[in-house]
Amino acid sequence: MGSDNKYIRDHSPRLEDLFVTRRQFLQRTGMGLGMLGLATLLGEEFLGSKVAAEEIATLAPKAPPLPAKAKHVVHIFAQGAPSHVDTWDPKPALAQYDGKPIPGMDGLAMASPFKFEKKGKSGIEVSEVFPKLGELVDDLTVIRSMYTDIPAHEVATVFMNTGSTRFSRPSLGSWVLYGLGTENQNMPGFISLRPGGTPPGGSSNWQASFLPGLYQGVSINTKAPGVNQIIGNIRNQYTPLDEQRRQLDLVHQLNELHSQNLQKDAQLEARLQAFEMAFKMQTEATDAFDLRKEPDAMRDMYGRTPQGNQMLIARRLIERGVRFVQVWAGGWDHHQDIEERLPERAKEIDQPLAAFINDLKQRNLFDSTLVIWGGEFGRKPVKDRNGNDNPGRDHNAKAFTTVLAGGGVRGGSVYGATDEFGAAAVENKVHIHDLHATILALLGFDHTKLTYRYNGRDFRLTDVAGQVVTPVLA
């Protein structure tokens, strides 16, 4: 013990040194409880040893089984269910029927209060609420024929993120992390950014569920004013890093003794990993979340707003090799006052997302990053009768739009269509499971083969469904 400590003291606390002590610790404790977890921490170094690699839950980067361009995912979740007929899916028929009944439907048609205009070389029509994204339409695939099962926010939000309405299931990001590992072992591989509050469904949206705990998303509140608040307690104000390393080693040893009488519990295992990740984040994450390190021009390009900050953080995370970033950009539940409130929401994300795409392009990250924007369902073409004099639209599970861009996506294209009024997807319909299958395909996976055995059954993100939407692949 003594000599190890001397070793640490005589060196500056570089992370490589710390891993050496991890290995020594392993040897000393005879690879007890912590073995699997520590093997994970050692990651690539350890895989050559006699422990079979496939038995170990690891964050080490892995190549996907199929060729793929996309290596990272940024999923911008427009929670609340944006109205597709006011954003990406123009319906001139609604103007004709404005205020009149639509055949076969309850309620009175409501024309979109917003103008649509053909944009880019592709001439795709985009609503005026997205002026900057409109300019980038040649980079986007607009899927206009999305549909889902249940038009209730919490259920549908969790469904979009986990592929299940009923049971606790791993989230999309957890599956991706499980499949691909992550490139930066000092940062969580799956980070969920939220601008204050918690979305409906809370941690179900980034949970690992039955996947090992290290695939769980790490939720970060980006609303806090500085990096020390964004990740609470990221700094220790009392103990220097090398001393803290020594302390954490003691904690692991205490845990090892404590657990000898207990079951080898997956939760205790996950805790060991969480402490190690926390330790590493103290140096790495502080930097990743510190927007003061960005030049003023860059911050202005994204906009100094909550969503501007989130998208800029997302870019800093992607740059550092984080595998999956979920960005919550909600507030789209417009039962009333849609004319006033929808443009506010659109404005929040228009500039930041456009800046993000342009920035990725400049850094040669666009082709390797899959960008997803969309909500959990769409809205009806008729006036919501629960609303007041300034109408909005009610929930609609039968039609909505999801936009894809970047890695492996065919830009400047529209896929699928809704009916004349936008009431339901009718042509080339894309279900949530199909979208998930497609996302996995873009990352190099056959969605039927990315499985995890739990309780005697092989589970997958797409359950027993899902068709890859090949036309959206470049």
């Binding site: 003594g2 309620g107 509140n221 009392y238 302390q247 040893q253 003794l257 079951q263 926390a278 629960n386």
Partner: protein, 817 residues
């Protein structure tokens, strides 16, 4: 999912008697069709329906449209969302006929053409005229659905099963044990041996009061060799005022408690609930008093209707259960929906709000039952001023409060008058300014009420409207699409055949009585399951807020019923329920692993051992403060700041809960989402939890306090110091190898620790209040700061402090086993 064909044969056999019964009902509905009428139906009508309608309106449909089934006579007569499809004998008033005639542009069937030939339409008209003779009874699939939903265990009458016979009668201390043991023996398993006394007192203390036992309490228990030693511990803990703080918090999870309103137009409305805490205190008090659970339910629904509330207005605070929910931008239907949700999930374990737009997909809860409850809550409203519950008004402080409040009221009146004036004039700029002033006036009122020491506490009551009314069914949840009006009454599935309309005002009291009625077996089952879950980590039913048909079968259905029946017999006493459970052998098992058993029953559903449970954030934080001797035991009162430095050292339950922006530390530790009733929290493991233990000044200061304690300083040697820390933190002495680890760690510490890596030292890092967090403690004023700790300098840790800090971070401090 609607079609479970694979189970049909078995079900069919069971249903034979029921089939005959149903057929009898159908026949009794109309005159028996004659053979020639039936022939007409079979030749001319049935093929038309099958070919043109069944795709969307039958059990074969992928999705049934408009809630209309045309594959049974019942379906036709009952109709869909827009009413009955046919009026027997009256084609001109039959929607089906209107639809096929294609004369109404809004109602045309088949929807995308082609129109049915005139001859077919004429056949249909004749058929309706002759009374729509129709031999089709419910399809097999439909019957399977209704039958299995009728026989679902959760709404079967409650009987008290006799404890089964067991082999190892020595182990079975209570009837509870017999039920558990019988299941274990079925599988050839034996329960774990009992936990040692230290583990047991630690488990019981955390379970009942959410704090660790003190070394003295442990010592006393170890010394007490009487047979009822543990019983005495349980009784002592049940009598502790901290009990209500622990179990009250469990209930506040269910009650989706928050000190703020959630979705409001912040430009126009202040988001604070200045009096939510009076409901929180009511809950704590009720648990401490062991208020019978049925009374607890009645008060939370209808305290204003009870004569006792006139004598004790504090009871009115119970109504906060209904009123502390989200405000949903003042969308009344959503507010009512939230109230139905909290009542039905909370007390009944049913997801009734699924039936807002359509009949419940899984449970026998039709939309009309939802609107029966809707009528109750749409017959209520919050009064303009919440009633004062403490009448000690007077004194200089009160005069000060009173004057300030009156000034604000006057300002409000002036502003409102001005507003009316400006509206008439149409001066938009001035209008906007006045609205802003009004909004500020509102915030000042809220802040005054929340912080002024003499502001009288008030109850967040709900009152009946003068003219209570039944609600129409809102078809597909659409307020503009009114269906038939339904009486205010209880859910059919739980009414046991007796279902009188509610007549007492809005019907809240009637509803409460129905919920606690002997006829309704689910209420005690749900409560017993909740209590069991908090003792064992998992309930008999793993979805505590959903006992419907989607829920898994209970692990121990007979035991659940036995406990539910005992609970009723024992006067709905939750404390007696704790005793019964905790004095059983099954509660006292050790948590040791058994690899063979873990293969057979990996989830430990059979309870062959005690589960290892992570402490919830409240228990973790409170225990850290208690270990450091820093816990402020003050009970009750307005919310405090637990989030930013200097931290309040009050118990975590007194911390402010802002549903629109929950404190990150709570989110990171899986705090219950205050937007929904939450019977079971998530259990995630994330790095931020580790960061809290590693770096939070709150935690580190406790390590420093421990080492500064005179008892620690008085320890003569290393070994006794380590022993002291172990006793204090883990309630046990250290093992030799632990002593060795400890002394090595302390001995090899660097000689002069430095704080090398931080520029943030000696500066609180989390008390910056950002401009976009309006509702926070910056505004709580002196009251919010009361009970706060003091700011401490970030002095570098000495080796013993660092060691104590390591002990606080280790798993043993965060888990109960």
């Amino acid at each position: 999912m609607n079609k479970p064909p694979f189970i049909l044969p078995g079900v069919l056999r069971q249903l034979c008697p029921a089939l005959g019964f149903l057929a009898a009902i159908v026949r009794s509905l109309g005159a028996e069709p004659t053979p020639s009428q039936l022939q007409f139906f079979e030749n001319r009508i049935r093929p038309v329906l099958v070919q043109n309608c069944y795709k969307c309106h039958s059990d074969q449909s992928e999705k049934v449209k408009g809630g209309l089934w045309l594959d049974t006579r019942d379906g036709l007569l009952k109709g869909g969302d827009t009413g009955p499809a046919i009026v027997s004998g009256d084609p001109e008033h039959s929607l089906l006929i209107r639809a096929v005639r294609y004369t109404d542009p809004d109602l045309q069937m088949p929807p995308k053409g082609p129109q049915l030939p005139d001859s077919v339409v004429a056949d249909l008209v004749s058929w309706v005229k002759m009374g729509a003779p129709d031999p089709r009874t419910a399809t097999v699939a439909q019957k399977a659905r209704t039958e299995s939903s009728k026989s679902h265990w959760a709404w079967q009458p409650l009987r008290k099963p006799s404890p089964p016979a067991v082999q190892d009668s020595g182990w079975a201390r209570t009837p509870v044990d017999k039920f558990v043991l019988a299941k274990l023996e079925e599988k050839g398993l034996k329960p774990n041996p009992p936990a040692d006394k230290r583990t047991l007192i630690r488990r019981a203390t955390f379970d009942l009061i959410g704090l660790p036992p003190t070394p003295a309490e442990v010592e006393a228990f170890l010394k007490d060799e009487s047979p009822d030693a543990f019983e005495k511990v349980v009784d002592r803990l049940l009598a502790s005022p901290h009990y209500g703080e622990r179990w009250g918090r469990h209930w506040l999870d269910v009650a989706r408690y928050s000190d703020t309103k959630g979705q409001v137009r912040r430009q126009r409305e202040d988001p604070t609930y200045p009096f939510a805490w009076t409901y929180r205190d009511y809950v704590i008090r009720s648990f401490n008093e062991d208020k019978p659970y049925n009374l607890f339910i009645i008060e939370q629904l209808a305290a204003d209707k009870l004569p006792a509330s006139t004598r004790n207005p504090t009871n009115l605070c119970a109504l906060g259960f209904l009123t502390v929910g989200d405000r949903f931008m003042e969308m009344q239907n959503d507010i009512i929906n939230d109230r139905i949700d909290v009542v039905t999930k909370g007390f009944l374990g049913l997801t009734v709000t699924c039936a807002r737009c359509h009949d419940h997909k899984f449970d026998p809860i039709p939309t009309k039952d939802y609107y029966s409850l809707f009528g109750v809550f749409s017959s209520c409203a919050e009064p303009k001023f919440e009633p004062v519950i403490v009448k000690n008004l007077g004194g200089p402080d009160y005069s000060d409060y009173y004057k300030k409040r009156m000034d604000l009221e006057q300002e409000k009146d002036t502003l409102e008058a001005k507003l009316r004036e400006l509206r008439r004039k149409g001066d938009r700029e001035a209008l906007r300014n006045t609205l802003r002033d009004l909004r500020q006036n509102q915030t000042r009122v809220s802040q005054l009420e929340l912080t002024h020491p003499a502001a009288p506490p008030r109850a967040m009551v709900l009152e009946d409207l003068r003219r209570p009314h039944d609600s129409p069914v809102l078809i597909r949840g659409d307020a503009g699409n009114k269906g038939p009006v339904v009486p205010r009454q209880f859910l059919e599935v739980l009414s046991g055949g007796y279902r009188p309309p509610f007549t007492n005002g809005s019907g809240r009291l009637d509803l409460a009585w129905a919920i606690v009625s002997k006829q309704n077996p689910i209420t005690p089952r749900v409560l017993v399951n909740r209590v069991w879950q908090h003792h064992f980590g998992e309930g008999f039913v793993s979805t505590p807020d959903d006992f419907g048909m989607r829920a898994e079968q209970p692990s121990h259905p007979e035991l659940l019923d036995y406990l539910a029946a005992r609970f009723e017999e024992d006067g709905w006493s939750i404390k007696k329920l704790h005793r019964l459970i905790m004095l059983s052998s099954v509660y006292q098992e050790s948590s040791a692993n058994n690899p063979r058993y873990a293969q057979i029953d990996p989830e430990n559903r059979l309870l062959w051992r005690a589960n290892i449970r992570r402490l919830e954030f409240e228990a973790l934080r409170d225990s850290l403060l208690a270990i450091g001797g820093d816990l402020d035991p003050t009970m009750y009162g307005r919310p405090v700041d637990i989030e930013s430095e200097p931290f309040s050292t009050r118990r975590t339950i007194y911390g402010l809960v802002d549903r629109s922006d929950i404190a990150d530390v709570l989110v990171n530790f899986d705090f219950a989402n205050p937007d929904l009733p939450t019977g079971k929290r998530h259990d995630t493991t994330v790095p931020q939890q580790a960061l809290f233990l590693m770096n939070s000044p709150l935690v580190i200061e406790q390590a420093k306090r421990l080492v500064a304690l005179p008892e620690f300083q008085a320890c003569p040697d290393e070994e006794s110091r380590i022993d002291f820390l172990y006793q204090r933190i883990y309630q046990r002495p250290p093992r030799p190898e632990e002593i060795k680890l400890g002394s090595e760690f302390v001995a090899s510490a660097p000689e002069s620790p430095t704080t090398s890596n931080n520029d943030a030292a000696v500066r609180p890092i989390s008390n910056e209040i950002s401009a976009d967090r309006p509702m926070r403690f910056a505004q709580l004023g002196p009251q919010g700061r009361k009970g706060r700790g003091v700011m401490r300098k970030r002095a570098p840790l000495k080796s013993w402090e660092e060691y104590a800090h390591a002990l606080l971070q280790a798993n043993e401090a965060s888990f109960v086993n």
